[in-house]
């Protein structure tokens, strides 16, 4: 069986090149793969496109990646939170591009990529600024916007447990975008709180089948935003 477990953080992320598109999980703090993001920061890549719901908090995680100049473009639904001041500063300075996507459309565009589909028609955004430049179609008397798939070169996600096949389960609202991003990327890298033996995950309750997972790295439990022990 292919060994999907990365022994070091560098092993987990080092294949990510300059200019890659990264799907980064999390909504608020739950489910943000903070350790993996730090690993990417350490690589000091340039011109990354980041797809994630928020635009970073304070100076850590996505905010650190942005602050260190690694990110050329951000695709997200909620960029202008107070805590995303680092993003705002770089965006105001014209140093980072922004694409705003409604949250449900963001999730669905990634699922569409993961499911091998070419697009979908959504009622979300019809008649709004965010539909500008997009095709609109009428189906059975109702207008829809045609949205295209959004795939990643890599997904960086967080899960609760992984088995050696890379099967994943999540914790509460830390699930959020993570299972969708796992489907939508060519390479999916996961940080997990703990790994378990094969057969320790009931096949009925697996949320992300291992077929969507390439690499996992065990971080142990940690609190986001707090100082971490060496992981």
């Amino acid at each position: 069986m292919k060994n999907k477990k990365a022994e070091t953080l560098e092993d987990a992320v080092s294949r990510i090149p300059n200019g890659a598109t990264l799907l980064v999980g999390g909504f608020g703090q739950p489910g943000v793969p903070e350790v993996l993001i730090d690993g990417v920061c350490d690589l000091q890549r340039r011109g990354l496109t980041i797809v994630t719901n928020n635009a970073g908090t304070g100076h850590s995680g996505i905010a650190r990646l942005i602050e260190e100049g690694c990110v050329g473009k951000l695709i997200c639904s909620f960029p202008w939170a107070k805590e995303s001041f680092v993003f705002k500063e770089l965006h105001d300075a014209g140093r980072i591009e922004l694409e705003i996507v409604p949250q449900g459309t963001l999730a669905e565009r990634m699922r569409t990529a993961g499911a091998g589909l070419g697009g979908f028609l959504t009622p979300t955004g019809v008649g709004t600024d965010l539909a500008e430049g997009k095709e609109t179609m009428n189906v059975d008397g109702k207008d829809y916007v045609l949205e295209k798939p959004l795939a990643g070169d890599f997904a960086l996600i967080k899960a609760y447990r992984a088995d050696p096949r890379g099967n994943l389960v999540y914790r509460k609202t830390a699930r959020n975008f993570n299972p969708i991003m796992a489907m939508a990327a060519a390479h999916t890298i996961v940080e997990v709180e703990e790994d378990v033996a094969i057969d320790d995950l009931d096949p009925e309750v697996i949320v992300t089948p291992g077929v969507f997972v390439d690499t996992y790295y065990v971080t142990g439990w940690y609190e986001i935003g707090k100082e971490r022990n060496a992981s």
């Binding site: 449900g104 669905e108 709004t128 609202t173 969708i180």
Partner: protein, 225 residues
């Protein structure tokens, strides 16, 4: 003429009034801010479930001290709980619930609501960008959309207008408006003034409302003692 300032409903009172409209058996999504105050005013015997678009069906109140779980938050990023019989889903399934017509109601804040039910709540006209979050999906998909807001802007400008001038969130979706002055229904005939706050007259409400209000039968908002 009464003193409008003193007769305006508090945020709690608006939430309490909106809570009266939450029907038994409903699944409801609450926007950030004032709408999150609604659950506290729903009687325990009324079965209303809450959906949070970050993957919670059956969101409960904030946790008791010591019961906080950092992995259990609302879409507004507050720590919350899960009620018995709730379920966790991923983001795509969560928005399938929202867009698929499974929300009986969404209660959302608003910058502007037009007489035809157009909702504007994601971007101010003088801004080049906004934080849309899940507002467009939820507004487009819910069976009913309740707008909950102050009746006028801080500068006194009307927020309930004949035609919207703000960037659109979703067209023709608002079904009822709850403000610190009134409860207004959006109907095929236009806006119907259902209730005014105690101490206010229908004409006082119309005076600060850009769109014409139908005032055939105006009641008074009931406020608990």
């Amino acid at each position: 003429m009464s003193d409008q300032q003193t007769n305006l409903l508090t945020r709690q009172q608006i939430a309490a009034r909106a809570a009266q409209d939450m029907e038994d058996g409903w699944l409801v999504n609450l926007g950030i801010g004032m709408p999150t105050m609604i659950p506290a005013f729903i009687p325990a015997e009324r079965d209303v479930m809450f959906h949070s678009e970050n993957g919670l069906i059956g969101m409960g109140p904030p946790p008791a001290a010591g019961d906080e779980d950092q992995d259990l938050i609302s879409a507004g990023k507050e720590l919350v709980t899960m009620v018995p019989g709730g379920a966790y889903v991923h983001h795509t399934d969560s928005f399938a619930v929202a867009r698929g017509g499974r929300l009986d109601c969404a209660v959302l804040g608003a910058f502007q609501v037009a007489a035809n039910g157009d909702l504007c709540n994601w971007r101010l006209p003088n801004q080049t960008s906004g934080s849309v979050g899940g507002a467009m999906d939820i507004a487009a998909g819910s069976k009913r959309v309740f707008a909950m807001m102050t009746h006028t802007a801080r500068d006194g400008a009307a927020k309930i207008v004949t035609e919207r001038t703000y960037p659109l969130t979703a067209g023709g979706v608002v079904t009822r408006i709850f403000t610190d002055m009134a409860v207004i229904s959006v109907t095929g005939d236009g806006l119907v003034l259902d209730e005014v706050a105690p101490g206010l007259t229908a004409d006082e409400v119309q005076a600060v409302t850009d769109a014409p209000l139908i005032m055939d039968s105006v009641g008074t908002i009931a406020i608990a003692a």
